[in-house]
Subunit: 216 residues, 2 copies
């Protein structure tokens, strides 16, 4: 359960999580699995982007797995399964992020020998997951034009640490009066090097570019 | 700073917050201020709805105040000020919700004698604020069609406790393949009585109805 108190054990909790994340990383590596952590608000399009990436990877003969992280429910898990993606569902109850321990258990549910690429879809928000690495090799932060052009400015920590930033639903940018350039400019102030990729997941636009940024 | 540990002091933290929330409520009441807590993901349209509500209230000769809660930045605060709304900005740092203590301090910054209606805009997500009442008389949960039709199912706790539910950006529903009826049906399963109001904040549609639900 989420608490606001700052407790002395705080740093050791984060350090403990980092140690578990390193162990997850090793475990994935030993099984030849490349893993990517997808962050973003609910509705930013994380699930659909993963579905599209899975289509391309499967066409390349690679096997895809996914961990669906949500406070409640199994909507995303069922979407993954329907797509033929090997998936595990993690409900966090009241927690607003996955942690390395939850991912460790999810990995136990999956047959890693049959997975080449694993997508970990974090709980939908841009605040809580910031401090909790999970063992993925790259962290992808997904925002949507429909969330407004102040999205980056409101969550500096998560964008500073992003390995890839995706701006999804670019087709709706003008309908919601959002200029993608404003978001890209704000992102560049925080993060000099990570790719900033425009996508329209619905139509598959930008998905190849995103895959290149992940796998390259 | 946010922690995932369940600590023994947990319940007392929540109880402490509830006591502070009751004190805020009394304090607001003594000054004749009606206060409403707005929850919703970033980009759901909370700020714009508050701006529109403020327009109507000001036209009725009422004075409006707002507390802008965000992890970082002052985008919403500046929007409120530009609209002539008496506002206080609260940055939570790494916290993913306001709490009654933060609101207590924000109230100190505002001249409550000059405010009839106060909007408290919580940090943008639907997970963390659930357990933290702030002292407002009603809690409004705002979702947007662009967030997808699984939004309610993914956050049962927050919808169960909502006093009013707003579905914003109804004009974009068909562009994003979302049926408002699905969201309303999911909401009704969790919450029998709270009004479910469709809005297009940009055009001011549904704002009068929302105001009626708040002030009535």
């Amino acid at each position: 359960m989420h608490k606001t108190v700052t407790v002395d054990m705080g740093e050791s909790v984060l350090e403990h999580n980092r140690a578990l994340a390193r162990a997850n990383r090793e475990h994935l590596k030993e099984h030849g699995v490349r893993a990517f952590d997808f962050l973003g608000a609910v509705g930013s399009g994380k699930t659909m982007l993963i579905e599209r990436l899975a289509d391309v990877l499967k066409a390349q003969g690679l096997q895809v797995g996914a961990i669906a992280g949500d406070v409640a429910g199994d909507d995303d898990y069922r979407r993954f399964r329907k797509k033929g993606i090997r998936a595990a569902n993690v409900n966090t109850g009241k927690e607003c992020h996955l942690d390395a321990h939850l991912v460790e258990h999810a990995l136990e549910e999956l047959d890693l020998m049959k997975i080449d690429v694993l997508f970990i879809e974090n709980v939908g928000n841009l605040v809580c997951p910031a401090d909790f690495p999970l063992g993925a090799e790259r962290r992808v932060v997904v925002i949507s034009t429909t969330e407004g052009d102040d999205m980056v400015r409101k969550h500096p920590a998560i964008f500073r640490d992003a390995d890839v930033c995706v701006l999804n639903k670019v087709d709706l940018a003008s309908a919601v009066d959002v200029d993608p350039k404003v978001l890209e400019r704000d992102f560049r102030k925080l993060n000099k090097h990570a790719p900033f990729i425009l996508t329209n997941a619905k139509k598959g636009e930008g998905v190849e570019e995103l895959l290149g940024a992940l796998m390259g």
